[in-house]
């Protein structure tokens, strides 16, 4: 098929290059010695990496992003775990519908979710606050946590739970002592996916926060608008490297 996969090989190489080239191309921009975003011409500098350590701007945003990501990923994982186990135990006739409902935030276009959440948060006075942002992130990432947990539960042997119940464990005991320990890797995966998703969330965040609460993506966005600060390139390089490192670490674990 596909001409002895020569075409496949070529296209795979081309799309690999296409996907990775931009991530590499940012690097030289981050070492420019100039004040504005440009290719360095002979002169290299680390000043834009130093600028990231400004506690009032970049560091503050890194802190905000971390706080929001930690809170929303833990909440989303807890919600998703309860939901997944509920579906798994009860196998309700409406299961498909309920799962579809929880996956709604994936189906709704991000801009639409952003507008809808903007109206709601404006209504209850949580616009541009940390609780408002955490709520928005939880809604947006819960579907991904649910997918991870349902996947883990589908590999769990029902007999384990039945055996626990037969031996006199209450429903709560069987959940805490049998089900949860058995899906711990799924729980971790769900939490990790949620953490990354929240850390990187920019579509809803750009709408529902911005003056008091500035996450890292929002700060990058503002800098790109206002004055093409080369610190954007430096922070991009750091985030690309961090992401690559995390993927490598997760790979070596499995």
């Amino acid at each position: 098929m596909f001409g002895k996969s020569r075409l496949g090989g070529f296209l795979a190489g081309a799309s690999g290059l296409f996907l990775l080239l931009p991530l590499v191309a940012v690097i030289p921009f981050s070492f420019t010695a100039k004040r504005f975003l440009s290719m360095p011409d002979g002169e290299y500098s680390l000043r834009h990496y130093v600028a990231i350590f400004d506690p009032d701007t970049w560091l503050a945003s890194i802190g905000t992003s971390t706080l929001v990501a930690l809170l929303s990923s833990v909440i989303a994982t807890a919600l998703a775990a309860a939901f997944g186990i509920g579906i798994w135990l009860r196998r309700p006739a409406s299961g498909r519908f309920l799962i579809g409902l929880v996956l709604l935030p994936i189906i709704v276009p991000p801009v639409t979710s952003a507008v809808a959440l903007y109206f709601l948060l404006a209504q209850i006075g949580l616009l541009d606050t940390v609780p408002g942002l955490v709520l928005s992130h939880v809604v947006m990432i819960v579907p991904f946590a649910v997918i991870a947990i349902l996947g883990a539960l589908s590999r769990l042997d029902r007999n384990l739970e039945l055996a626990a119940r037969n031996l006199g464990a209450s429903q709560m005991q069987s959940i805490i002592m049998v089900i949860l320990p058995n899906i711990r890797f799924g729980l971790f995966a769900a939490w990790f996916v949620s953490l990354v998703m929240s850390w990187e969330e920019s579509s809803v965040t750009l709408f529902v926060s911005g003056v008091n609460v500035i996450t890292l993506p929002k700060r990058i966005w503002d800098n790109l608008r206002l004055d093409l600060d080369p610190a954007v390139a430096a922070i991009s390089v750091i985030m690309i490297l961090a992401t690559t490192l995390v993927i490598l670490l997760r790979k070596s674990e499995t």
């Binding site: 296409f18 996907l19 409902l101 189906i107 928005s136 209450s170 920019s202 790979k251």
Partner: protein
């Protein structure tokens, strides 16, 4: 003993316990996704307030505004296609991005899935990096590549192919490229996992029975791939049609898509009902595409 507080819960009937597990998530989705969409629908039929917000007067003006312009003096409506063009452009850009992603991804995913394990893992790693890197940063990175002083233009100038840098950024072409770049991994990965599960003995059997490559592809491979193709298409189309970052950063804010038009209603234009109406239209388009593809998938399964 530590089991004591747990034992209490055994008195709670299983039905109630299960409902207690399901409801927190359902409640969050209902309160923070379904209810907000209901608010949005309501707002789309109201009148904009003077400084943002809404006034509680029923009106279909927000929807009329998409097609018509109201004259200030005599209140007459004249047809203006400006907004319609933006909606059409969004649909076109998203369709083009989805089709091109399909064309690129099918051979790519097939190639990766048929490599030996070691090579396969390297390819998957390379595809997963952009999948995980922040979308905003990836869009900016693509802008760097397309800039006048970016690697493509400087390479072409150094080689002497062109004298002046090509206008690669801040136009419709850059937006198309940006959408493909943003969402290509969403197409490659589901297709890859579909190929991964594909039983290649089926293909050998088809060849043994004198099927041509074409026939084998369309009759054997494609039907098995269909769920992956549909999942991938949705994952590319839905975020593309409402895309906000790519048109803004790569299109330079000149070639708007519906996402940007919506965004403007909450910044400079301060017209909440119009923003709400546009969002409802975007949601409707998405749901139509979703149900159309889902029905096609269901029909294929029946056959």
């Amino acid at each position: 003993m530590s089991a004591r507080p747990l034992a209490l819960s055994s008195r709670i009937p299983a039905r109630v316990a299960h409902a207690g597990l399901l409801w927190p998530s359902l409640g969050v989705i209902l309160a923070f996704m379904v209810a907000p969409i209901a608010i949005m629908l309501t707002y789309s039929f109201l009148v904009p307030g003077a400084y943002g917000g809404v006034e509680w007067t029923f009106s279909t003006a927000a929807y009329e505004q998409i097609l018509f312009e109201r004259d200030f003096l005599d209140d007459s409506l004249t047809f203006t296609p400006d907004y319609l063009i933006i909606v059409a452009r969004s649909l076109l850009q998203a369709t083009v991005a989805t089709l091109l992603c399909l064309v690129i991804s099918v051979p790519t995913a097939y190639y990766i899935a048929t490599r030996p394990d070691r090579v396969k893992n390297i390819w998957l790693f390379l595809i997963t990096i952009p999948y995980w890197v922040n979308l905003l940063i990836r869009t900016i990175a693509l802008l760097f590549v397309l800039r006048d002083d970016g690697p493509i233009n400087s390479a072409l100038i150094d080689v002497g192919v062109i004298g002046q840098p090509l206008a690669l950024s801040y136009n419709g072409f850059a937006i198309s490229l940006g959408l493909i770049y943003s969402f290509l991994p969403f197409m490659v990965l589901p297709l890859y996992s579909a190929f991964e599960r594909f039983d290649f003995r089926l293909l050998e059997a088809a060849y043994d029975l004198y099927a041509s490559r074409r026939v084998a592809f369309f009759r054997i491979v494609l039907p098995v791939m269909r769920p992956g193709l549909i999942a991938g298409s949705l994952l590319v189309f839905i975020p593309s049609v409402g895309s906000y970052l790519a048109p803004d950063i790569l299109g330079g804010g000149k070639t708007l898509m519906i996402g940007n038009l919506i965004g403007t209603q909450f910044q400079a234009a301060r017209n909440w009902p119009f923003g709400a109406a546009l969002s409802m239209i975007l949601l409707t388009i998405t749901l139509i595409v979703l149900f159309w593809l889902a029905r096609r998938a269901a029909q294929q399964q029946m056959n």
